[in-house]
């Protein structure tokens, strides 16, 4: 009676199923993109979002109390805190999907060699992206590059950060760089532009803390950003608000983005960044889940266009007609009592249908310019003309005067500051603090050492804050893991 008891699942493949079509190869590769949603989705509490974690850590952002923002800016977070789980599990889930893709595509013999190379390039670049996020958040992490199938093999110990860079992130990207992927991919998949951007960023980070590889890494970084600049595929938008126009998704300045489409998966960060319960939007929930600190916004250089109303921030908006009766003056203009982030303000969604149709950006051209400025300055010991132009192109859009210094340190600090202003709340500031171990003080406008820096919340960063705790659940279930110091 063995047949009677044999399971024949009809709705799902198993790891043993043999598959061979080019379409299914594509489906394996697309699986490696699926966890990119972790970047601006999920998170604990009402109004929580994974993207908020690294902003809360900087001490330059706030949230509502259910997001538990206070745990982070008060530096009271622990291994059970919100978001830590989401990032860890999200990235490793992405890695597992990339690993599966790499293995399965290798097995499908019907694919033309070039297609196969490009598909594997996509999966490896995605794997590198996930690992890059992990090492910067958690430090040493388990190194997993194959499909784990036996329960005896699940408890992988941590490998040093440098080993993850040297044996996974960098080789994956270098291999991907050899592919023939196009410079731009408007579908949201990996492109040569995205791979070079990742390499530029990975090497820039590798040059700094904790690996501190220095000039050789700066050199590799500058080489990639220069290639992107010289290639000419990408350019800056004329207006900041061009970035919140749905038609501009994956275009012009945007290099790599998390994809959103209003009727399929709209951008959840839009309602998260709305002021809580003010009734300005068609959204049922206005979360107030991620908002800027006033001190940061007011530390922008005088005249910076980005700090002006409805560029990167806003302080008033009209009350929504469904919330305010006709005749109530708030229907025309409502003082929001502070600054709110305008970077995910999809006007159409907010006024009408509550379905944000704009993407979340992982890399855009402005950052490439700034990475080139920073890396080449270090390689050459002073900013070259192209580096100066790169920085000043970003400043020009902000209607700020050009930076003229040729002093290596002064130029570097100018670039760092520019990164804060240009890329604020885009998941960059915290990682810049970690790799440079410097923090721009919003009150003194000076650069403090990371350790010892006192935030506007009156809390002081310590050595332990350089790394996030590994989720408690993970250390519980993997006895070979050692928790980061201090947690």
């Amino acid at each position: 009676c063995n047949d009677f008891l044999t399971e024949n699942p009809t709705g799902q493949l198993t790891t043993g199923s043999s598959v061979s079509s080019p379409e299914i190869a594509r489906a394996f590769v697309d699986g490696s993109y699926s966890q990119i949603t972790t970047f601006n989705n999920g998170g604990g509490g009402w109004g929580g979002n994974n993207a908020s974690l690294v902003e809360f850590m900087t001490g330059k952002a706030d949230g509502n109390s259910q997001t538990e923002a206070f745990k982070f800016f008060n530096l009271e977070y622990d291994a059970r805190a919100f978001y830590v789980d989401g990032w860890w599990s999200g990235m490793y889930s992405g890695i597992a999907r990339a690993n599966l893709a790499i293995q399965k595509i290798g097995e499908i013999s019907t694919l033309p060699a070039a297609t196969k190379t490009n598909m594997i390039a996509e999966a490896r670049a995605m794997r590198a992206l996930y690992y890059f996020q992990l090492v910067r958040m958690f430090g040493d992490v388990p190194k997993i590059t194959t499909l784990i199938t036996s329960l005896d093999d699940v408890q992988t110990p941590r490998s040093p950060v440098k080993e993850i860079y040297d044996e996974i992130i960098i080789p994956d990207l270098l291999e991907a760089e050899k592919s023939t992927l196009p410079w731009r991919d408007t579908a949201g998949r990996m492109s040569m532009g995205a791979i070079k951007a990742l390499l530029a960023h990975v090497y820039l980070t590798y040059a700094g803390f904790p690996v501190s590889a220095g000039v050789p890494a700066y050199t590799e970084s500058a080489k990639r950003s220069k290639e992107i600049i010289d290639n000419g595929t990408y350019s800056l938008f004329a207006e900041y608000t061009d970035m919140i126009v749905p038609a501009n998704r994956n275009q012009t300045e945007f290099i790599f983005q998390v994809q959103h489409e209003k009727d399929i998966r709209n951008n959840g960060l839009t309602p998260v960044t709305l002021p809580a319960f003010t009734g300005i939007a068609s959204y049922s929930d206005e979360y107030g889940g991620l908002l800027p600190r006033k001190e940061f916004v007011e530390s922008f250089e005088k005249g910076d266009k980005r700090a002006k109303e409805k560029q990167f921030f806003y302080t008033y908006y009209k009350g929504h007609p469904s919330d305010y009766p006709a005749g109530d003056p708030r229907r025309d203009s409502l003082n929001l009592g502070g600054y709110y982030i305008y970077k995910w303000f999809d006007k159409q969604a907010i006024d009408n249908d509550a379905k944000a149709n704009i993407n979340y950006t992982i890399y855009r051209y402005a950052e490439i310019l700034l990475m080139y400025a920073e890396a080449s300055n270090r390689v050459e010991g002073k900013p070259n003309a192209q580096a100066q132009k790169a920085l000043n192109d970003v400043r020009k859009r902000a209607q700020l005067p050009a930076v003229t210094t040729t002093n290596v340190d002064e130029f570097e600090k100018a670039v760092w500051a520019e990164r804060y202003f240009e890329l604020c709340y885009e998941g960059k500031m915290w990682f810049d603090m970690i790799r440079t171990r410097k923090v721009r003080n919003d009150l003194t406008k000076q650069w403090d050492n990371f350790v010892g820096h006192k935030t506007v919340y009156g809390k002081t960063f310590a050595e332990k804050n350089l790394l996030l705790p590994i989720p408690q659940r993970e250390t519980d279930n993997n006895k070979s893991l050692e928790q980061n110091v201090g947690f």
């Binding site: 009676c1 499909l147 009727d263 379905k355």
Partner: protein, 1000 residues
């Protein structure tokens, strides 16, 4: 010889009271009748040589030759071995005195004391060790039944239901309680091992009524109920709401100084809202949403049955109708049922028969969407200064008072958001019984269950926070299910001298398969179509479908041996193979053994007048649990979709880790018990002690996320349940005029986790309401609650201490358990238990002449209920209305309180599962009280066997300390390990009924 009519009265020999319902048969024929409620009978016999046989459960059988008499009065003696009632066990029956296992039995008529619409409700409190808790008082919800504690973590905890031999019926509550002949609960391993792999949670065997040869019985049972809320919690009045609202804005200055200065807190001024306030600034409306939503309602139930039979065949037909309203506006249940049974003696050696049961139900539910701004939540969060509708006909909504979270008024939700759940269930069975010799027979049955469930849902276009963002949302899902079993078993029964042997040997195949699909559409141009024409929705959400099946192949046997009716032995075994398990572990064997000693049958006790029955029993055995999902051993590559290029792209990913070594979860159970009868069995006592250890627990055990997956079903873990059960059945007073009997069922269970996961670490099984709420920890019970300890609020004198925690006087004060100067995950601790320490049910029945009165008191002690509702109605203000408890919030004058100072939501609000939410969930409930009167049985020419009217009330009182509606609660959290946790529960009704039973 000519026909003549015999009349007579049947009475109890002990107290002379009339005995209704006694079977009277003319010996050797199929002619028969039964006595009416006065104990009178009438029967025709052919001649004077006829012999009448009088039999009645619990009484000795009497045969009386008629002779030339026309009146034959009979007194029946209580059978001193009244234990000799027959008890149904798996694949057979046994005399109660021969029973070696622990089996609780209840007769159908007893179930009818209460106006229950389902089986589980009528079982509540009846049998020690059977814990029935009502999940929700919404019509159509299935109660939760647990036998002897909680023995599993990831597998189902529901007992196995066997209805007329159909094993594993998925919805026993489809039965109308009127249709039940008897109900048996198999508790120990000796009784349950015959169901092997499916017996570990206990087995409930239901036998439905069938026709009896030689009689015809027509019965009609009807009752109607008035259902009214048992309690009201009250909501804030318009004036109180305004007071809280204004205080919240005033206090924002204290808790968010900067934001206040920046102008973040601009309150609404009544003068700007002439539609809500009069010229003096007084609210125009004062809506009590609780009263608008929870209203008294009605229920009715009818059952009409004809049961009878000729010499060689018997039949029964019954039809039923139930219409039960819910307290919540627009919620209700309607059910139609029909049942047909047929039993035939085809030849001397062959008996064939079958049954078919059809049930059609429609459940209308409006309280769905727990956690969101659903109806029960908006009852407390809708703002009282709003009307249901404005004079112009438009609906009031929280958004009309800017700054509110934006839920809709609950009346509107109840009208515009509906879920209907039509169900059709068909249970059928065909059997044959072949008698090879008087001792040996073979029974074969083919049975099936068909289920068609559909779920239709629509939520309107304008329902803010529910479906306004989608411009209306409709979904339809359907499930088709088919189960069949094919079983063959031999029965052998032989008495040789003092030895009696009965044996059973059989084999069985079972398979359950189902197919389902679902589709959702959004963006409707009008609410007109609802879910009825889903095509109108302009946005199609990806549809889904799936099909699954599982199968079991089993071999089973049982051997009973008794010597001189004193020493009894039972061996049971079942060898089960299941598709659900890994290729390496498909089959397993589940044996059990039991011994019993009928001490009263020994010479030295034979004539003892006090101790009239004493049986000591012991059993030990192994049963299994296979109730995990299908395909858990498989390594699946699932599909899902990712958004690329502006559209959905299917992708493939590793969706399950798979475990080819997956095997049965099994329970070893020891049971020691005694059945004691005192004073001619006027007092019956049953006592059981059990110890159940469940091993190889099927645990959805977490694995490191670094594998890319979260968990895998593994056989790791062990849990122990120990307990005692006491049942007392006492006829306190028994005279011709008056009887009083008492029935007590007591049980106590202690649950302990012995082993957990690979490393023995704590597991937090969810439901994760703002963090962990429950913990699984070695040494502690399943259902242990987890969170902070709330000490109260910070006082003005503690301002400095509070500042260390970034808190101000008036903020919540939680215990810093590890004293590290901050409140975080390390300060979470065990704060309660969600399964009771013991429960007790006492029922008393009185009979005075034609009146009968009975009442049941149910007591549940040593349990907590989590009132998570406090999270939103007590912990936050100014974005919704609050519960009345905020009127006791912290103020400088009222510092001794557990409720934080009122402030605007945005000014900082603390909320976390803590021991303030965890309340005492113990209660004493007046479960049921019924007063009946049996009318004279003759009206003109119509002779009734029974004609009784009665009035009853259920949940007629409740004594508890719980701040919500009812401590027996569960909402929305689904999981089976987090009993007793509620977030805006559906209130419990008090029910008054009037009913009539007619049998003729």
């Amino acid at each position: 010889p000519k026909d003549k009519t015999i009349k007579g009265k049947i009475t109890d020999s002990e107290n002379g009271s009339a005995l209704p319902g006694v079977n009277v048969i003319v010996k050797g024929t199929s002619q028969g009748t039964s006595s009416n409620s006065d104990g009178n009978y009438e029967i025709n016999v052919n001649d004077n040589s006829a012999v009448l046989v009088f039999s009645f459960v619990g009484y000795e059988k009497v045969e009386v030759p008629v002779g030339d008499r026309t009146t034959v009065d009979v007194t029946l003696k209580v059978d001193s071995k009244s234990m000799d009632e027959v008890v149904v066990i798996g694949y057979g029956t046994v005399r109660k005195s021969d029973l070696t296992g622990s089996v609780g039995a209840i007769k159908g008529e007893k179930l009818l004391d209460r106006q229950a619409t389902n089986v589980a409700q009528s079982l509540q409190g009846r049998i020690p060790g059977v814990d029935v808790a009502v999940n929700s008082s919404a019509p159509g919800y299935q109660p939760r039944v647990r036998i002897r504690g909680v023995g599993s973590i990831n597998s189902s905890l529901e007992p196995l239901y066997v209805i007329d031999g159909i094993v594993g019926v998925s919805n026993p509550n489809l039965l109308n309680p009127n249709d039940i002949e008897s109900l048996e609960v198999l508790k120990d391993a000796s009784a349950t091992a015959i169901y092997g792999a499916r017996g570990a949670n206990g087995v409930i065997i239901i036998t439905t009524k069938r026709g009896k040869s030689g009689t015809t019985q027509i019965s009609y049972d009807v009752w109607g109920s008035y259902i009214t809320p048992a309690s009201r919690l009250g909501t804030l009045s318009a004036d109180e709401f305004m007071q809280v609202y204004n205080t919240a804005y005033d206090n924002a200055a204290k808790f968010d100084e900067q934001g206040f200065k920046d102008g973040k807190y601009v309150r609404n001024l009544p003068a700007n809202f002439p539609n809500l306030f009069d010229a003096n600034g007084k609210p125009k409306y004062n809506t009590d949403w609780e009263k608008e939503i929870y209203k008294p309602t009605w229920a009715q139930n009818h059952e009409l049955a004809v049961r009878g039979g000729g010499e060689k065949s018997a039949y029964s037909i019954s039809v039923g109708y139930t219409d039960q309203g819910g307290l919540m506006r627009n919620s209700n249940l309607t059910r139609y049922s029909a049942k047909l049974t047929l039993d035939n003696d085809a030849t001397k050696w062959l008996k064939v028969g079958g049954s078919i049961f059809i049930n059609k139900a429609l459940i209308k539910e409006v309280d769905g969407g727990s956690g969101g701004l659903n109806v029960p939540r908006m009852v407390f969060e809708a703002v009282p200064i709003l009307p249901i509708k404005y004079p112009d006909g438009s609906w009031g909504r929280n958004k009309d008072w800017p700054g509110m979270e934006g839920g809709e008024n609950p009346v509107r939700i109840a009208d515009q958001r509906t879920q209907t759940n039509p169900r059709t269930e068909i249970l059928g069975s065909l059997y044959s019984n072949i008698k090879f010799t008087p001792d040996l027979s073979l029974r074969t049955n083919y049975s099936y269950e068909l289920r068609f469930d559909k779920n239709n849902f629509y939520s309107g276009r304008d329902l803010n926070a529910l479906s306004a963002d989608q411009k209306g949302s409709a979904s339809i899902s359907a499930n088709n299910e088919f189960y069949w079993q094919f079983e063959n078993y031999f029965n052998y029964n032989k008495t040789i001298g003092d030895h009696n042997i009965s044996a059973l040997l059989g084999l069985s195949w079972q398979k359950r398969s189902w197919e389902n699909f679902g589709v959702t559409a959004q963006n409707f141009i009008d609410d007109f179509w609802g879910w009825h024409n889903i095509n109108v929705g302009n946005t199609l959400v990806k549809p889904n479908s799936s099909d699954q099946e599982w199968s079991l192949n089993s071999y089973f046997g049982r051997l009973n041996y008794s010597f001189k009716d004193r020493y009894l032995l039972t061996f049971t075994g079942r060898y089960d193979g299941a598709s659900k398990f890994g290729v390496n572990n498909k089959y397993a064997f589940f044996p059990s053994a039991a011994i019993a000693w009928n001490v009263t049958n020994e010479e030295f006790l034979k004539s003892n007048a006090t101790l009239t029955n004493l049986k000591i029993r012991a059993s030990y055995g192994k049963t299994g649990n296979q109730e995990i999902g299908q395909y858990a051993s498989q390594q699946f590559l699932g599909t899902s979709d990712v958004l690329l290029g502006g559209s959905r792209q299917t992708f493939v990913w590793r969706s399950s880790f798979g475990n080819p070594d997956l095997r049965w979860e099994y329970t070893n159970q020891l049971d020691i018990g005694a059945d004691i009868g005192l004073f001619n069995n006027r007092i019956d006592l049953t006592f059981d002690y059990y110890k159940k250890v469940t091993k190889d627990l099927l645990l959805n055990a977490p694995i490191p996320w670094s594998t890319g997956l979260g968990s895998v079903t593994q056989n790791i873990g062990s849990v122990q349940n120990t307990g005692i059960e006491i049942g007392v059945n006492s006829r306190n007073i028994s005279t011709e005029k008056f009887t009083w009997s008492t029935n007590v069922a007591f049980s106590a269970n202690k649950n302990k986790i012995l082993k957990l996961g690979r490393n023995g670490d704590d597991i937090f099984p969810g439901p994760n309401f703002l963090g962990n709420t429950n913990i699984l920890r070695i040494g502690h019970a399943i259902g242990t609650l987890w969170g902070y300890r709330r000490l109260g609020t910070w006082g003005t004198a503690e301002a400095d201490e509070a500042a260390k925690y970034n808190r101000l006087p008036g903020d919540l004060k939680w215990e810093d358990i590890n004293k590290d100067g901050k409140i975080d995950g390390k300060d979470e601790t065990i704060i309660g238990r969600s399964y009771p320490k013991w429960n007790l049910n006492v029922s008393n029945t009185f009979q005075l002449g034609k009146f009968d009165l009975s009442f049941d008191i149910r007591i549940v002690m040593g349990v907590n209920t989590v009132n998570a509702t406090k999270h939103s109605v007590e912990d936050r203000q100014a974005i919704a209305s609050s519960s009345r408890s905020v009127l006791n919030a912290w103020t400088p004058e009222n510092q001794n309180t557990h409720i934080a100072q009122i402030r605007h939501y945005n000014a900082g609000y603390d909320t976390h599962m803590d021991d303030w939410w965890v309340e005492d969930g113990s209660f004493i409930r007046g479960q049921n009280i019924v007063l009946g009167y049996s009318l004279p049985t003759k009206f003109g020419k119509v002779n009734f066997q029974r004609l009784r009217i009665y009035a009853s009330a259920q949940n007629f009182f409740l004594i508890d300390n719980y701040s919500g509606y009812d401590p027996e609660a569960l909402t929305g959290f689904g999981g089976q390990l987090n009993a007793n946790m509620e977030f805006f529960q559906y209130p419990r009704p008090r029910t008054y009924n009037l009913g009539l039973n007619i049998v003729f």
